[in-house]
Structure formats: structure tokens, C-alpha cells
């Protein structure tokens, strides 16, 4: 019952965005750690790829409930998002430039802002759910 309740909210999607932001933070931290390693190529997780997959997962989620009568355990809407999460390993690419410390730090900061934005909205969503459950505003 709880998954069906949550899937009308952006909460699972925000969860995937958070997971992506944390994984990307680790990759960028790895770049900073290897700033003086000879022959090292910077790595990153592709944001456009991730957004594409998330869009497809959301579309699939919205299609699934259509023909199920209420109360039946239909296809788990979680499947689509789980696929996004497990495919994070395929988003790795090497840009062939030498590392620019400033650029890496900038990317890290942007990623950090995205992470905190997703967190703030997520906390807000939970508060809304809480006030709906307790019927108190």
C-alpha cells in the first residue's frame, strides 16, 4: 500500500536524483584525489544520460497502473526506478582533457547544490505527507 501511496508523489524520483548526486560526488572526489597521478584521465557521470533514463522510468511508471483494478498487486512501479539506479555504472565516461582543478571543484559545487536542492524538496514532501496523515496543517 505504501509504494502506491508514495508513487503519486515525487519522493521516489527525488530518491534516484539523490543517489545519482552522491555517486557523482564520489567520482568527482576521485578526480580530485588523482590530480597529481600521471596519465590519469578525469571521469564523470553523464547527467544528460541520467536525465534521459529517469524520464523513461517516469513514463513507464505512469503507464503501469492503467489497467490494474485497485487492490491487485500489479507490476511493481519500483522496477523502473531500480533499473535507473543499477544502470549508474554505465554512465561513466572519460573526458580526455587534463584535469582542471577549478573545473572539477565547480562541477562538485554544482552537484552539491543539486543534492541539497533534492534533499530540501524531499524533506518538504515528507512534511506534506505528515500533515496529511495527521490531518493537521
Amino acid at each position: 500500500m505504501l509504494p502506491a501511496l508514495l508513487h503519486t508523489t515525487p519522493i521516489p524520483i527525488l530518491g534516484e536524483v539523490l543517489h545519482f548526486a552522491q555517486a557523482r560526488h564520489t567520482v568527482l572526489a576521485g578526480n580530485l584525489a588523482n590530480v597529481n597521478t600521471p596519465g590519469y584521465r578525469t571521469r564523470d557521470l553523464s547527467q544528460t544520460e541520467f536525465q534521459q533514463r529517469l524520464k523513461e522510468a517516469i513514463a513507464q511508471m505512469q503507464r503501469a497502473p492503467a489497467g490494474d483494478s485497485p487492490g491487485l498487486m500489479g507490476a511493481e512501479p519500483d522496477e523502473a526506478l531500480r533499473h535507473v539506479r543499477s544502470s549508474l555504472e554505465n554512465l561513466l565516461y572519460h573526458d580526455d582533457t587534463n584535469i582542471d582543478l577549478e573545473k572539477q571543484v565547480a562541477e562538485m559545487t554544482k552537484n552539491h547544490l543539486l543534492h541539497n536542492l533534492a534533499l530540501t524538496i524531499l524533506a518538504n514532501q515528507f512534511q506534506l505527507l505528515q500533515s496529511a496523515i495527521s490531518e493537521r496543517v
Binding site: 555517486a23 572526489a29 576521485g30 588523482n34 571521469r43 554512465l91 562538485m108 552539491h112 541539497n116 524533506a123
Partner: protein, 140 residues
């Protein structure tokens, strides 16, 4: 979080590099005993960095480690000191003493780069800490 471990590996590696630089600066004019037991001028130490495959995440982030600390092999600096106890006794360099040839400027620049990399990784650790703390805020 793996990000903390990766940043820590960088801190350790840069500190070892700084140790090598300090060693070179401290031994600007000293001698050391080589494999045959003779006293030779000190040769500069330098570190070799390598990505640490043991510290890898599934998404491709990787840490760093010091693969080896190598000793340079350069020609020593010769100074004319015929009354020195270690002066060369015979040959074309008779009366000269062999001193280490260490490039002071290069060592200082190396120390600066190591410090900058250290600070960059410290900044990354601050961000990681902040992300983890913010995540706990969901609870209330």
C-alpha cells in the same frame, strides 16, 4: 561513504609526497651510505602516484596511492675542498668533494603543488560531510 575514503587516500598520498620534499630539503648537503657501504652524496627522493584499484566504487570513482618512492640518480655537485676528510684522493677530481645536486626551486614548487592538492581534497571532504549532514535533516 566511499568519497571520504577516496579523499583520505589523497591526503595520505600528498603528505607522503611532502615528506619526500622535506627529506630533500633537509639533506641539501648531506652524505648517505650506499649499497657498498661507501659514503655518497644524498640523492633526491621522489614519489610515484598511481590510482588505487583497491579503493574503487562501482560507478568508477577511484582513489590514489603511492606506488613507490624512487631515488634519483644525478651527477653530484663538486666543490674544491682539498683539506676535507671526504675529498677525492686520486683521479681527475682530486681534491674535490661531492655534494648532492638538489634543485631547491623545483622542490619548493613541488611542496606548493602538494599543499594545493591537499587543500582541494580537504574541500571535497567538507562537501561530503555537508551532504551527509543534510541527508540526516530529512529526519526532522
Amino acid at each position: 561513504m566511499a568519497a571520504l575514503d577516496i579523499s583520505t587516500s589523497a591526503l595520505v598520498a600528498q603528505r607522503i609526497r611532502l615528506d619526500a620534499v622535506s627529506s630533500n630539503l633537509a639533506n641539501l648537503t648531506s652524505l648517505e651510505r650506499d649499497a657498498e657501504g661507501r659514503m655518497q652524496p644524498y640523492q633526491a627522493r621522489y614519489v610515484i602516484f598511481q590510482t588505487d584499484e583497491a579503493l574503487q566504487t562501482r560507478q568508477g570513482a577511484v582513489g590514489v596511492k603511492v606506488a613507490a618512492v624512487q631515488t634519483e640518480q644525478v651527477e653530484p655537485l663538486y666543490r674544491w675542498q682539498p683539506s676535507h676528510p671526504y675529498a677525492i684522493k686520486e683521479g681527475p677530481r682530486k681534491g674535490y668533494v661531492a655534494y648532492p645536486r638538489i634543485n631547491l626551486t623545483a622542490e619548493m614548487v613541488d611542496a606548493l603543488v602538494a599543499t594545493r592538492a591537499y587543500e582541494a581534497n580537504l574541500g571535497a571532504m567538507e562537501l561530503t560531510k555537508n551532504m551527509a549532514q543534510q541527508t540526516l535533516r530529512i529526519l526532522g
